[in-house]
């Protein structure tokens, strides 16, 4: 039997978000993968150019629904760097607390999704139930479960009270117990082992070649973590270890994430014990002087990179975001080669893809019909005509 080209997506029941994988199959084996992205481009960067820095705080947060805080942290770090303001120590600690709580909820969520992809929905139900504990803590401090609206330029907007600290520590005790359980399950449960061991191999040299980031790179034995390599917020004073494994497979990515839960719990306990007293915000001017800045943070999925150019007004001149999923896609194409078709969903899920936050540009290319740019009004008239021709009322 010859080679078969199987298109998956943009709309497909196996995919949570629209993207296109054209998989070339030789029997059951994947020979080649062509990934096409850009279906969920929202034009956030362009929109940011027409809004003030204060308004952008809430827009930038909506790039991603899971790692929203990593984005807003990058944005505020960029603005603060150009303004040249030092944020109070307490604000730094509270920001780190949120970054780590976010990592906790993201890793619990991912563990559930991975369970779901291999048909192990019990794990999915369990982890999502535990994730509620983190969500409740986030809601208790910030007032919202996602999109916390916690950062201001020059600090944070809400303080962590003594009562909050006590509840956070209680939550950590519970989550540690649960994480112990998942650690045992991930290493011993046959359902997981059968589907994750020696699946989606990404060798160390390939991970370096394709510049993989975050847990995907760390599962291939590369010690890369922005928290250690270029400390931001309060990571310089916080003791923690970078987790790596050298199994290079999906199981390694599960183990890295589960062990990172313990590191996050350790960091949060340290932060709660050493929270400095004092102000939580310094006053920042509305206008940002001319300048350029870059900032990167270790989002739960990997390195999140932001660039800002300001022009002395209240609004940014240019903003650019590169999310971890985009950095991991070339590595994903490599991982998929040589695997079975049935393993494709779990391998794709193993990089924790977030297509919605990845799509930054829309390119019209290739051998398709040349595209045509149409404005909203023309598109509306076209749709009315299209429906009228078919005898439907628009």
């Amino acid at each position: 039997m010859g080679r078969v080209k199987l298109p998956i997506g943009p709309q497909h029941p196996a995919l949570k978000e629209p993207e296109n994988f054209t998989i070339t199959l030789d029997g059951e084996r994947v020979v080649d993968v062509d990934i096409r992205i850009g279906y969920t481009h929202r034009g956030i960067e362009k929109l940011m150019e027409s809004r003030t820095y204060t308004q952008n705080l809430y827009l930038v947060e909506r790039i991603c629904g899971i790692c929203s805080y990593a984005h807003v942290e990058n944005f505020t770090q960029n603005v603060e760097e150009i303004l040249g303001i030092q944020i109070p120590k307490r604000a730094e600690y509270i920001r780190t607390l949120f970054l780590e709580l976010e990592r906790l909820h993201s890793h619990f969520l991912w563990l559930g999704v991975a369970g779901h992809e291999i048909g192990f929905d019990t794990l999915f139900m369990y982890t999502w139930q535990d994730r509620e504990v983190v969500q409740d803590l986030l809601e208790m401090i910030s007032g919202n479960r996602v999109n916390y609206a916690m950062n201001a330029i020059g600090g944070v907007r809400r303080d962590v009270s003594v009562e909050h600290q006590k509840k956070v520590l209680q939550g950590m005790d519970y989550l540690e117990k649960r994480a112990e359980y998942y650690k045992e399950v991930a290493i011993n449960e046959k359902t997981i082992l059968a589907r994750a061991e020696n699946v989606g191999i990404l060798k160390t040299k390939d991970a370096l070649k394709f510049s993989a980031v975050g847990p995907t790179a760390r599962a291939s034995g590369i010690t890369v973590d922005i928290r250690k390599d270029d400390p931001y917020a309060s990571y310089l004073d916080t003791p923690f270890d970078v987790i790596t494994t050298n199994t290079n497979d999906v199981l390694g990515r599960v183990v890295v994430r589960v062990l990172e839960i313990f590191e996050s719990i350790k960091i949060i306990r340290y932060l709660m014990a050493h929270l400095p007293v004092g102000e939580i915000v310094t006053k920042a001017p509305r206008k940002v002087p001319e300048g350029e800045s870059i900032s990167h943070t270790e989002a739960p999925r990997g390195e999140d990179f932001h660039y800002l150019r300001s022009n002395g007004t209240e609004k940014p001149e240019r903003y650019k975001v590169r999310t971890p999923t985009l950095a991991n896609l070339p590595a994903l194409a490599e991982m998929l080669k040589g695997t079975y078709l049935a393993d494709v969903p779990i391998i794709v899920a193993a990089i924790d893809p977030c297509m919605g936050c990845m799509d930054r540009v829309l390119l019209l290319k290739g051998n398709e019909k040349p595209g045509e740019l149409v404005d909203g009004e023309r598109l509306r008239r076209y749709s009315i005509k299209w429906f009228a021709e078919r005898g439907w009322k628009a």
Binding site: N56, L57, Y58, E139, E184, N188, K190, T191
Partner: protein, 113 residues
Amino acid sequence: MKVPGKMLPKIIGFIVRKPVTVLYPKQRLTPPETLRGKMKFHLDRCISCGLCARDCPSAACTMHEIDGKKRPVFDLDYCTFCAQCAESCPKDAIEMTSEFELAHYKKGEAIVK
């Protein structure tokens, strides 16, 4: 020990456990005090500076002239409940309450004046 059924005791335990969810309209969870819900506007404190409308990221807060005084009007259909207006207000005229049940039938019904 690579045996199946590592999770079995836990799963059996769930048969007798109470559900985590509550039956919403009858039973209610209390929202945290920090929750950002429907805002409350104190007209007497307002000095018509317009900072709230200037900082609103979703244009939910707009300035209108009502009874000879310029003042903000909040359309909750647009509001993202970020509470930036309350923070920008120099006179604390805007207060966020924890009221979150704001469903309504028609557009433009949820307006805070």
